[in-house]
């Protein structure tokens, strides 16, 4: 608290309250495939933020009146645990939760080839277990990894970051102290790096036209950094061990090879096929669009 009472000016200090550079992200780590029941899932830690994301579907959309005969419905459910904030949150979704669920769903909707799955729903559930500013972008990043984990065909991953202004400087990935700055501007931004499309953009605070240019530039740069972490997390999940010719022959001919070995490798092999086929699909649809 004491730090907040002093007049902080990042233009003078050149360093942020937590020691970061102006365009530096907080530590970000993602683990994909953490919830066995889900079709796809991810756990993400971003600074103090800790979120879980799970994808169920495409599955029959229920209740039936929510079905769309032309496309899949993306249903995002953003929730915070009661203990994820400094002052206990009341259980049950509030207006903020509903709004965030809506904008996250709309961001992901653009990334997914929803037209491939008419009459279905793709359920995306995100649970915030710990938070410190930027939980919605954290959820979006985790959710997009979970969708890829579920093998759902997409135009590309959705990468997101919080960007804005605090203590007289444009800063990337604001933390709570910076969000509480007197001149704070918070701009959650999400893009599809593959296509360069902006799919989520919110802002509150006061920015000049010139400042906005800097914010946008820094935000897109930040998204690209996040994108690299996402790709790495997915690559780690789908590590592929190439089957040796001998083990394939053994498996096919039923020679003495332990069942466990075959089963283990078959699983990883089929995952790899899934990823490859997804990429092909993307290429195809791109051509069609052009």
């Amino acid at each position: 608290m004491s730090k907040m009472d002093e007049v902080v000016d990042y233009k003078k200090t050149k360093k942020r309250l937590d020691g970061r550079k102006m365009d530096e992200l907080r530590p970000l780590s993602i683990k994909v495939g953490v919830i066995p029941n889900a079709d796809g899932s991810a756990y993400l830690e971003w600074g103090q933020n800790k979120v879980y994301a799970a994808v169920y579907g495409p599955r029959e959309a229920l209740p039936k009146h929510t079905q769309n005969p032309y496309k899949a419905v993306v249903k995002v459910n953003y929730r915070m645990t009661t203990f994820s904030v400094p002052e206990r949150k009341r259980p049950g979704p509030n207006r903020r939760d509903h709004e965030i669920s809506k904008v996250l769903g709309e961001a992901l909707d653009r990334a997914i080839f929803t037209e491939n799955f008419p009459n279905t729903e793709i359920g995306v559930f995100v649970e915030v277990a710990d938070s410190n500013a930027g939980s919605r972008v954290a959820c979006l990043v985790a959710a997009s990894c979970a969708l890829a984990d579920a093998g759902i065909p997409m135009r590309g991953l959705v990468s997101a970051v919080g960007v804005g202004k605090a203590f007289n400087e444009i800063v990337l990935d604001l933390n709570k102290d910076e969000e509480d700055a007197p001149d704070a501007v918070d701009t959650p931004l999400a893009i599809i790096p593959n296509s360069g499309e902006i799919v989520l953009l919110q802002m509150d605070g006061l920015l000049t036209r010139k400042e906005w240019d800097d914010v946008a530039k820094m935000g897109i740069k930040g998204c690209m950094q996040v994108y690299e972490v996402q790709k790495k997390a997915l690559a780690d999940r789908f590590q592929f061990e190439e089957l040796s010719k001998a083990s394939v022959e053994k498996a096919v001919l039923g020679n003495e090879v332990s069942k466990k070995e075959i089963v283990g490798k078959e699983v990883s092999a089929s995952k790899q096929v899934k990823v490859v086929s997804k990429e092909k699909k993307e290429d195809k649809s791109k051509k069609v669009r052009k």
């Binding site: 066995p36 103090q48 645990t81 009661t82 203990f83 904030v85 649970e127 277990a129």
Partner: protein
Amino acid sequence: MRDTILEHDISRITDLAKQGKRADGRALDEMREFSVVKDKFENAEGSAIVRLGKTEVVAGIKMEVGKPYPDSQDEGAISVGAELVPIAHPDYESGPPSPIEIEVARVVDRGIRESKSIDFKKLCIKEGEAVWVSYFDFYAINSDGNLFDAGSIAALVCFMNSRIPKINVDNKIIKHEYEGKIELKRLPVLTTFVKVGGRILLDPTYVEEKAAEARYSVATTEDGFISAMQKGVGGSFTLDEVNYMIDLGFKTGNEVRKKLQKV
């Protein structure tokens, strides 16, 4: 409501149970392995991630200053909440608390509250005016059955490690500063059983719960007390069966406590 468990799975589980077997190869009276991560979430006063087999829950405690109840002017209070959120299972839906969520929360609550392991008088700030209310909430992250016991283990870990925030003269919480801890005098461990194919199964999985004719939970303490019981689902138990489950509850409880002391 979705129901992804097939009739075929239920009859397979039932047939196996009749032969004294389980789908995952466990003995009927065998609990799944569990692991605990504590103090992971910084905004919580105490927190835990508990994995019981494939079941995973996250839990945390928030402390608030509240008014005492009219009949206990010098005592603090605890509150237990459980949420079976749709992240954890394809069958779960979001919405207002379901009867099963409320039952799980209340059974976990009673196990701790009625064991008298928390001295509520110590949670009093000023008699008649201000007391600590300790809110414990847990969320299913992946549900493979027995959220009762997973929630109970999470509750014990959270209460064992929960900090009490510092307060100023107006009884307002000073952020990020703490003094003291909640003390647990006993460790009441909940153990849950189901009856499938006429046999008693300890620590049921999701499918075993679906196949259950009846369910029974008992909370036991290290000094030989039973602090809560709950029979659920439509079927029934004989007294011999109940006594068998209580004895097994004490035995399992001791093993769980041994592990919890090391966390």
